[in-house]
């Protein structure tokens, strides 16, 4: 199988969409610059021209309106922001206009746009460059929210998002951009709204999304050696949520831990635990639990972020509690004592 990293998978999906459909546009601050949104858009302007791949004014709300308008008149724009937070300037256009347009006009006009957002983490990103706000977007009927955790899904989900007839919020995690996976060179689709079982298991289900899938998998793989069989469900889409995949897994294992990529209160983990307790309460062998970001803004210094971001070991603590197992997790997860502001040595600051 051919291997590719996540950032290049995004670029390859974008390239594919631009080639397949003349109506696809790429708009983003820095999209055509030498760094090309962390390498996800590099070279595309040379290939497709300044009218199809372009830079933009620092006007996130206005430009969201512009791409909505273009989508009403025959185009399929991909709008890209380098951080999730930049989209907060455009919440009005996203939530009031894009999400509701099709409903407000009773199905006469739809808004096929993709808004790519990137969650920052590490190297001192701080409070305004690191937020995982998928639950804000997922709260809104009319939006779709996807969060691929690996390069294969990133390519397939981006193609599905561009081809979707609705506004799709496509959230990447900066720490995933260098991760490598098997990525076919041809165009393919990963359906929106379908979760993936990343690890099969029978003792306990971990539901995770985006970067936390990697921590969940690491947790599952290490605990497997200790005889604990964990099923990891990678949500891939937050809205629509693959409720069947979650319920089927928990029905089988009877135990649930949600590893949230954002804050736990009022977020994705709250939704999933509600779903499970409302529907299959009688199948639960222990109380569902969750873990996510510390309930504070994200600090800049690595001396504090080590307590802010949960890791595989922290998930394992909950797993052991739920299964009433006693293990020496410091021995099992030695790498979790390393610095927490870089995902791996391939990342050097600044990013």
């Amino acid at each position: 199988m051919r291997e590719l990293n996540y950032a290049n998978a995004i670029k390859e999906a974008t390239d594919y969409c631009l080639a397949e459909d003349q109506s696809v546009l790429v708009i983003g601050l820095g999209a055509p610059d030498p760094k090309g949104i962390f390498g996800t858009t590099t070279g595309l302007q040379d290939k497709y021209g300044v009218d199809r791949v372009m830079d933009m004014p620092l006007a996130e709300n206005g430009m969201t309106g512009v791409v909505i308008g273009a989508s009403l008149n025959g185009f399929r724009p991909i709008l890209t922001h380098q951080r999730v937070e930049f989209a907060l300037l455009s919440i009005e256009q996203i939530v009031d206009q894009a999400a509701k347009w099709f409903y407000m006009n009773a199905g006469q006009q739809n808004v096929p746009i993709v808004i790519r957002l990137i969650i920052g983490r590490g190297w001192g990103q701080g409070a305004q460059h690191s937020q995982s706000l998928e639950s804000w977007f997922a709260h809104i009927p009319g939006l779709k929210v996807v969060m691929p955790s690996n390069a294969h899904d990133a390519k397939g989900l981006l193609i599905s998002s561009v081809e979707d007839n609705n506004p799709v919020i496509f959230i990447e995690h900066r720490w995933l951009h260098n991760t490598i996976d098997n990525v076919p060179s041809e165009g393919y689709r990963v359906p929106i709204g379908k979760a993936r079982v990343a690890r099969k298991g029978k003792d306990l289900t971990i539901v995770a999304h985006s970067y936390m899938v990697l921590e969940a998998i690491r947790c599952a793989d290490i605990l497997k050696i200790e005889g604990i069989s964990i099923e990891v469900v990678d949500l891939r889409s937050i809205r629509p949520l693959d409720t069947d995949a979650i319920l089927n897994s928990v029905k089988k294992t009877g135990r649930l831990v949600v590893a949230d990529n954002g804050w736990v209160h009022f977020g994705v983990s709250a939704e999933i635990i509600s779903l499970v307790t409302e529907n299959i309460f009688e199948k639960l062998l222990s109380a569902p639990e969750r873990i996510g970001m510390n309930d504070s803004p994200s600090p800049s210094t690595r001396s504090l972020t080590q307590y802010y971001y949960p890791k595989a070991k922290n998930i394992a603590e909950i797993v052991c509690r739920s299964l009433e197992k006693k293990l020496d997790l410091n021995v099992l997860f030695p790498e979790d004592n390393l610095p927490t502001d870089i995902p791996d040595p391939s990342f050097t600051g600044p990013f």
């Binding site: 546009l25 009218d51 933009m56 004014p57 006007a59 709300n61 206005g62 430009m63 969201t64 309106g65 512009v66 791409v67 909505i68 308008g69 273009a70 989508s71 009403l72 008149n73 025959g74 185009f75 009005e92 256009q93 009031d96 206009q97 347009w101 099709f102 409903y103 407000m104 006009n105 009773a106 199905g107 006469q108 006009q109 739809n110 009927p141 009319g142 779709k144 007839n165 609705n166």
Partner: protein, 321 residues
Amino acid sequence: MNSTSQELFFSMLRIRMVEEKIAELYSEQEMRCPVHLSIGQEAIAVGVCEHLEREDIVMSAHRAHAHYLAKGGDLKSMIAELYGKETGCAMGKGGSMHLVDLNSGFFAAVPIVGSTIPIAVGVAWAFKLKKNSNIVTVFLGDGATEQGVFFESLDFASLKNVPILFVCENNFYSVYSQLGVRQAPGREISVLAKSHGIKSFTGDGNNIDQVSDLTKEAIKYIKSNKSPAFIELDTFRWLEHCGPNGDDELGYRKKGELDQWVKRDPINSYKSRMIKNHKLTEKEIIENIEVIRTEIDEAFKFAKVSPFPEKNLLNKHIYKD
């Protein structure tokens, strides 16, 4: 479309009569959505839209009835929408603040002030990218020019030479807040557009001849220079911000201000000029009023007898397959 002066007159009169009928029947409590009436401001809608092709697009904001009708929006669908009926232009899902008639090129109106401006720029930009010669007109008020997206839209429209006509209806009030408490002295709306490199015009929005002439010139400029244009027109809202009644007794407007503007009624002043110039007779007016009244009565009857949408429509149109 180069309508005759008679057509312009009756188009304004028709819009006035439609809104007067809405105001008259609103107290029946059957049109259960907020309505923002354009009474007193009709000349702008009619004078601008007369120069638009059917394929040209119009977008507007909360006070959109006049724009919708002037662009050729279907009257029955509009009234049915106000009544929340399935036969409404948005099947009752939009109400007065979300009018739409794609057949006549009326794309949308939304009540978040300023929010249709960038969307309209995007629609117009798409025309340019497709090398289509149509244009987009977006109506906005003086309040919208205080929004950030206003400036963002002017910049992008100018940067990309987007074929759009911005029409600012300056009626000096946002709800009860006079321009002077919202905008700095010396701030000129048309100059804001000009400073973005956009060709700008100003005029009397209650004089349809002037509105029409300026629009003609602005559109000619847009098409020959492949650039946006901006027109700021002064006008005045006669009734309350939202609802069917007058509200001058609240005292938020200067005493006599409304009377001054009523004296400058765009419809009556045009009528006097037309009669004086022998372009219109009282008899023609009476005859046409009858025709318009019948059309309006039929529209209201249609709306009243139309069915409400069934429950199954609630969860329809959230996502497109």
